[in-house]
């Protein structure tokens, strides 16, 4: 019986969603302790209220970004730090087209569908730009995406002519607000929808297998006929596109395009979400659900920190510390030290690392 119990425990702890769920649980616990009515949900004026509703709502853009970041991370072992800037660019393109170039408008000057498609196209192009640099020119992902990280907001500023462009149209606010008659905030639907869409894509294509293959062993991938350049390129385009979607949602919330602030610091959150989701930042096997859970965890963490009266300016400190801790724990060198430390405490117990014999 004991061995059965032991193996169930092992199966639970070894599951790839164990780590992200534990992190989420810890953060939720911290929240409940700080704010006892954290889980209280009420309906007021036809709309849901409550801390937990807020967390799930605000995490929507992050969830969408995290999906793209997971794919990029898995396929190329590096991260795309331009996603925040791409969000700003997408928002800028959309709002400018809707306002017809004016700084503010109260009616669509051009069809909404045109603005949205243009914004998504531009963000996909940004992704393609990154993709060419990383996949084709083999430039380190973080260095390549550094270019748009800096230039992106400048481009967004140029598009909005240095102003914050407002679109004061009720229907524009829906994406970031509420569908009339629906108590659930729309961004939640977008996030869920994106997750569902990507999962469908993964079901009806070989995306997961190809990305993991390329990320785990690119020379073996080549031998079995996979084109790593193409696969990595595609992940960057997807990441850019998803950043565009997130940018549109963010823009809809504030019914404007604020090139300076949309998506600010979200790239860090996205990377954190991927890491918290149990995914190795060095690439390979990935779990989308893990990253999604990680995204909600980060948002819940942000809420905890706000509850502790830490302002948004100061948040980055805590996030930085968490990232460092996770990355250190994931590093092979640290694991080596840890294992040899455990060896010293319990000699002979732990499995010693295999020396690789070569002839």
């Amino acid at each position: 019986m004991a061995s059965q119990k032991a193996s169930l425990f092992k199966r639970i702890t070894k599951h790839h969603l164990f780590f992200p769920l534990v992190c989420l649980a810890v953060v939720l616990l911290a929240n409940v302790i700080k704010t006892p009515d954290f889980f209280v949900v009420s309906i007021n004026g036809g709309v849901l209220y409550g801390y937990v509703v807020d967390v799930v709502n605000r995490a929507s853009e992050l969830v969408i970004l995290a999906i793209g970041m997971t794919l990029v991370s898995a396929a190329s072992g590096g991260q795309d730090i331009s996603v925040g800037a791409v969000m700003a660019v997408a928002a800028a393109v959309c709002c400018e087209i809707l306002s017809g170039g004016a700084v503010s408008t109260s009616a669509f000057q051009n069809p909404l569908i045109l603005a949205v498609l243009a914004a998504l196209l531009v963000s996909a192009l940004c992704g393609a730009f990154n993709g060419v640099l990383v996949a084709r020119l083999k430039i380190q992902p973080m260095v390549a995406t550094l270019i748009l990280f800096t230039a992106g907001r400048g481009i967004a500023q140029l598009i909005t002519k240095g102003q914050i462009t407002y679109v004061r149209v009720e229907s524009y606010k829906i994406a970031g607000g509420y569908i009339p008659g629906c108590p659930i905030p729309t961004p939640i639907f977008f996030a869920a929808g994106t997750v569902a869409l990507v999962m469908l894509v993964m079901k009806f294509t070989t995306l997961k297998l190809y990305v993991e293959g390329v990320g785990i062993n690119s020379s073996a991938a080549r031998i079995v006929g996979l084109n790593s350049v193409r696969i990595q390129f595609v992940t960057y385009v997807i990441c850019g596109l998803l950043a565009g979607v997130a940018g549109l949602i963010a823009s809809s919330r504030i019914y404007s395009a604020d090139a300076n602030n949309i998506g600010l610091y979200l790239e860090m959150d996205a990377i954190l979400a991927v890491a918290l989701g149990g995914n190795l930042l060095s690439g390979g096997k990935f779990s989308l659900m893990g990253s999604v859970i990680g995204a909600y965890t980060i948002q819940a963490l942000t809420t905890t920190l706000y509850a502790m009266n830490i302002s948004s300016d100061q948040l980055p400190v805590y996030k930085a510390v968490v990232v460092v801790i996770i990355v250190v724990l994931q590093s092979p060198k640290f694991n080596q030290y840890f294992r040899s430390f455990r060896e010293k405490l319990h000699p002979g117990n732990s499995v010693s690392r295999k020396e690789e014999p070569s002839s």
């Binding site: 060095s282 300016d313 100061q314 980055p316 805590y318 996030k319 930085a320 990355v327």
Partner: protein
């Protein structure tokens, strides 16, 4: 037998950089002559505005030679300014204390980041990205409002003009000498010191070796970990110093200060001929990289109608161009081997 190269790739890249600067500046002198672009002071202003950046870029060049990178330099600069301002204005310390504090903060970042990168083998990008966020956040923790410096010693340092024998004669026939600030002297001294260190000390050559081929350096008996660690520590010190120089320009600490400075420093290094892959870099080239950035800034400001965001865009485009150029040269080399 390999073809004899007339010009090594690094010299080629450096020539492109210097040439680009001369081209830009000359163009500016011609196009904007009426707006005073041709005055010597204009040229010296490049140094004055960018003294801090010169020092910081030198540090970054060091780290990039080893094949690493540090994107926290901008936020550390902001932190240094805020901390120093706070120390002087709120805690009433003197300017020298502020200087010491700046150097210490820089060193602290250098030591922690250096340890994680050199001894735990963690990717420099993610560690210094965390450093970037840590620095930005800490700046806000210290104070959310801007702190202007009123400390007299500090302001004296900031405003002390050193006059030079060159200058312009204005319409009334009065000779107006050009001037620089002490920060420029410090920056140039640091530049020379770093250049000498890189060329004439074993430590400097070790940086190149380790950046060129880490495995080989290890097999040749070099202590790779320790060298890397020292590189980041030294960089931290230079960021502290450069940050202080930057602070002498702004005379205030505020939350968004020096945002994007890391991009300027990296761009300056890369445009100055430092290879992202490591093993190649030259502070003199970096200096020209900084001057190019300054020239772009001056040109756009003088032009007057273009938004200042164009500076960032122009710089990013140049960076992109040089990165791609480096990549093309590297792959051509591989093919011919």
């Amino acid at each position: 037998m390999k073809k004899k190269k007339q010009l090594s790739d690094t010299s080629f890249l450096l020539m492109v950089t210097v040439g680009l600067f001369i081209l830009m500046y000359a163009a500016g002198m011609i196009v904007f002559a009426d707006k005073g672009f041709a005055k010597p002071q204009m040229f010296l202003n490049l140094f004055i505005s960018n003294a801090g950046l010169i020092v910081i870029s030198c540090g970054l060049t060091l780290v990039m030679i080893t094949g690493g990178i540090d994107i926290s330099v901008g936020s550390v600069t902001g932190l240094v300014a805020m901390a120093s301002a706070y120390q002087m204005e709120v805690n009433g310390s003197g300017a020298y204390t502020a200087l010491a504090l700046s150097l210490l903060i820089g060193l602290a970042f250098g030591v922690v980041q250096g340890y994680l990168i050199a001894y735990l083998d963690i990717q420099p990008f993610i560690i210094t990205l965390a450093g970037l966020f840590f620095g930005r956040g800490m700046t806000a923790v210290i104070s959310k409002e801007m702190i202007s410096v009123k400390n007299e010693t500090f302001l004296a340092w900031a405003k002390y003009k050193i006059y030079l024998p060159v200058g312009t004669t204005n319409k009334r026939g009065v000779f107006q000498p050009a001037y620089i600030y002490p920060t420029v002297i410090v920056a140039l001294l640091v530049l020379i010191a770093v250049a000498v260190m890189l060329k004439y000390t074993r430590f400097g050559r070790r940086l190149y070796a380790l950046g060129g081929n880490q495995q080989s350096a290890l097999m040749m008996g070099l202590n790779v970990r320790r060298t890397k660690f020292y590189a980041y520590t030294l960089n931290g010190f230079l960021v502290g110093l450069g940050g202080f120089l930057f602070f002498l320009n702004s005379c205030a600490g505020f939350v968004e200060q020096a945002k994007g400075l890391e991009m300027d420093a990296i761009s300056a290094s890369v445009i100055g001929g430092t290879l992202l892959s490591g093993g190649v870099g030259n502070p003199v080239g970096t200096l020209f990289g900084v001057l190019i950035k300054g020239a772009i800034s001056s040109l756009i400001t003088t032009q007057g109608t273009l938004s200042s965001w164009w500076v960032r865009i122009a710089l990013s485009s140049l960076l992109c161009f040089f990165i791609v150029l480096q990549s093309v040269i590297a792959s051509r080399k591989k093919k011919s081997m």
